[in-house]
């Protein structure tokens, strides 16, 4: 994983024109595909989730199998606030979800980030599983296996009601994603981002130069958790329902897969992955559920063995090949 766009001092932090592409596509989709806005909102939510995952997998180099814990906590926080406490304002729920998920990130991160390798991976898995058990058993709060129903979401800013066609959902998710993207981008191109790259590439040396490795890791872990919490809250608000699957191991795994297919450690991999994955799933998986997983599995194996860097890695290589062709 050497040639990442790791950010930091050496990278040019100025916006490039390509970076406006996802937003242009998203806005065009709003006008051109009005029947697909619900799907579109889901894609935007999972992009945010993937972005949070990219921070710790791609930038901090932590392999986690339990990131759905934070997503799920965010989803349940928003849902419980509405269904149990009658707090229906979407922005209040959003903030609350970010805070609870971030706190869980601080607490669990503080415990597990002292370990590395397999133990760390297992700890993320075990903590994810604990969250699933809690959500399953605390049914008076969460609805257990039946899921949490009875959620009502007030109009955004008192103006925009969540409609059946997903217009509000779509624009709302797009706005939140934009803000989070801006924040992540700033973070990655800051000195903090540079130190993360250092930790990932050579942990020992960072210790040697006296960098507060543990605290840096903890900070990024908590930030990532909070972002995942936002994504979870968005899912609750757009679907007005929370099911146990938001905390499942399958979700953690699938998210990792989407991110890897997009490309790790480069922000826009988190955009490309979920978009490609979910559109393909929407079009293909309904007709061919068996072949869908066969295809995705094979694709993963091929990507790992032959096409490191995922979709964006391929794009890079194509671009550089075309560039070379021109020069010669």
């Amino acid at each position: 994983m050497g040639n990442l766009h790791a950010g930091g001092y050496s990278a040019n932090a100025a916006l490039r024109w390509q970076e406006s592409l996802p937003w242009l596509v998203a806005i065009a989709a709003f006008f051109l595909l009005p029947e697909f806005l619900n799907l579109g909102a889901r894609i935007l939510i999972f992009i945010l989730f993937a972005l949070s995952l990219d921070l710790i997998v791609g930038y901090a180099g932590i392999v986690t199998l339990g990131h759905a814990a934070f997503f799920g906590l965010g989803a349940y926080t928003a849902g419980i606030l509405s269904a149990r406490a009658g707090i229906n304002d979407p922005l209040i729920q959003l903030v609350a979800s970010g805070v609870t998920a971030g706190l869980l990130g601080v607490v669990t991160g503080a415990i597990i980030l002292r370990t590395r390798g397999l133990a760390l991976m297992m700890l993320t898995l075990a903590i994810g599983s604990i969250c699933l058990e809690v959500a399953n058993k605390a049914s008076s709060l969460t609805g257990g296996a039946d899921g949490l129903a009875g959620i009502t979401i007030a109009p955004v800013l008192g103006q925009f009601r969540f409609d059946l066609y997903g217009k509000t959902s779509y624009l709302y998710c797009l706005a939140i994603l934009f803000v989070c993207w801006w924040f992540v981008r700033r973070l990655v191109y800051s000195p903090f981002g540079a130190s993360l790259a250092g930790i990932r590439e050579n942990n020992l040396r960072m210790h040697a130069i006296g960098a507060p490795v543990y605290l840096r890791m903890l900070a990024v872990y908590a930030i990532s958790a909070a972002l995942a919490g936002f994504a979870g809250a968005l899912l609750t608000q757009t679907s007005q329902f929370v099911g146990l699957n938001v905390v499942s191991f399958e979700l953690s795994g699938e998210m990792l897969v989407m991110l890897i297919l997009g490309g790790v450690g480069r922000i826009y991999g988190a955009f490309a992955g979920p978009a490609v994955y979910m559109i393909a799933q929407d079009q293909l998986a309904k007709q061919f559920p068996e072949y869908w997983y066969l295809g995705i599995g094979s694709l993963l194996v091929i990507v790992v063995l032959f096409a490191k860097g995922g979709v964006l890695g391929l794009v890079d290589r194509m671009v550089s090949r075309i560039g070379k062709g021109r020069r010669s």
């Binding site: 296996a145 039946d146 997903g166 007005q240 329902f241």
Partner: protein, 397 residues
């Protein structure tokens, strides 16, 4: 794969229908959300067969020029999030006018707000938690509630046994079954010596059943979703030798679904259940239903109560289409559904309670016996006639 084939068949049937129909032919789209993948894929399949059998038998009942197109979607199991998303797409993209299927309670609950917002009539063909029909005025249920079967089970059991142990799956219907049985059994003077809620996704029943055995009840009452789990819990009951130590096994009919009986070996012999439908019933309406089923799907295939739910559900849908002469309106549909009656369903006389939009039907006590070398749920007596959902009746007072 199966769903594509279904879709193709239906499209073809539709195309042929179009050929015969007049120029103003109109298609009514019916969205179906059921389970066709995952561990419970068999359930969606057996319900599909019920729906298609009905459609084949009653093609001529539809008003002239009206045809039906089923838009079938797979929820993959108790997966509310997915179900909600599918329902949304069915409404927005496919523009269905009626929604049906719905095996799982959580899935039905998740789409309630959508049905209300879109004024979309939803005919629930299976999900059995009592409270579901209260979640949207556009829900009507043709299947059953767990209270309907478990409450009479408790009343009946209290006359024969004094000590009962309750084991149920830990989700809506399981909790309904537990509450219903416990109330009726206690009201009848029985004692509950212990109870356990088993996680819905559970690989091994043995520790739970061992615990039940060690509590030394006279009778073990259990509910699990009808399907592969029924066979597993029966296996645990048999492996641990509960019958030998004198513990009777009873429950709602989900415990011994007609289509799972062949997988169970001899273990369920003598198990008593209370339910609204048995494939072995000798009512004439059921005999002709079974005959038509076997003719369509082969001797080896047996319909279950879920197939009958699907069959009756299609009947209710046909009725509302006929009542409105093919022009579907949400509120008119609900008026039609509220007045739905069929004196001759394979399960006996049924109707929809105009007040609660929930099913009213008979409940039968059955024993698993060998009939012609095969296990069957033999109906012994009618323990409740035209019973309304007891939960709603109790909570009304």
């Amino acid at each position: 794969m199966k769903s594509i084939r279904t879709l193709l068949t239906l499209l073809m049937a539709g195309a042929i229908g179009l050929f015969h129909a007049q120029a103003f032919a109109q298609t009514i789209k019916i969205g179906v959300i059921n389970t066709y993948s995952g561990p419970n894929a068999s359930l969606g399949d057996i319900m599909d067969k019920g729906m298609k059998l009905y459609m084949k038998q009653n093609e001529k009942r539809l008003p002239p020029g009206v045809k039906i197109e089923l838009v079938i979607r797979d929820d993959g199991g108790a997966n509310p999030d997915k179900a909600k998303q599918l329902a949304q797409e069915l409404i927005v993209r496919d523009k269905v006018q009626i929604l049906t299927g719905l095996i799982w309670t959580p899935n039905a609950a998740a789409i309630a707000p959508l049905a209300t917002e879109a004024k979309l009539p939803v005919v629930i063909m299976n999900a059995g938690t009592s409270s579901i029909t209260t979640m949207s005025p556009y829900f009507a249920r043709v299947s059953f509630t767990l209270w309907q079967s478990s409450f009479p089970t408790g009343t009946w059991a209290a006359k024969k046994y004094k000590r009962a142990y309750i084991a149920v799956s830990d989700f809506g219907p399981g909790i309904d079954a537990e509450n219903a049985f416990e109330k009726a059994f206690r009201d009848g003077g029985g004692e509950i010596v212990g109870k356990v809620r088993i996680p819905l996704a559970n690989p091994d029943f043995v520790p739970f059943i061992q615990r039940a055995k060690d509590a030394k009840p006279e009778v073990l009452f259990a509910f699990i979703p009808a399907g592969p789990q029924a066979t597993q819990i029966m296996k645990a009951y048999n492996d641990l030798g509960l019958a030998k130590s004198g513990v009777k096994f009873i429950g709602p009919g989900d415990l011994t679904p007609d289509d799972e009986l062949p997988n169970m070996g001899d273990a369920p012999l003598g198990v008593y259940t209370v339910h609204h439908y048995s494939a072995a019933s000798t009512r004439p309406a059921n005999k002709s239903f079974i005959a038509a089923w076997k003719k369509e799907y082969g001797e080896k295939s047996t319909p279950s109560f879920m197939s009958v739910g699907a069959w009756d559900g299609m009947d209710a849908i046909y009725q509302l289409i006929i009542d409105q002469k093919g022009k579907i309106d949400g509120d008119q549909s609900m008026i039609s559904l509220r007045g739905y009656k069929n004196a001759n369903s394979p399960r006996g006389p049924i109707s929809i309670d105009p007040l609660t939009r929930d099913i009213v039907q008979n409940e039968y006590l059955r024993e698993v016996r060998k009939v012609g070398g095969k296990l069957a749920n033999v109906e012994i007596e009618t323990v409740a006639t035209a019973i309304k959902d007891p939960w709603k009746e109790i909570n009304k007072k």
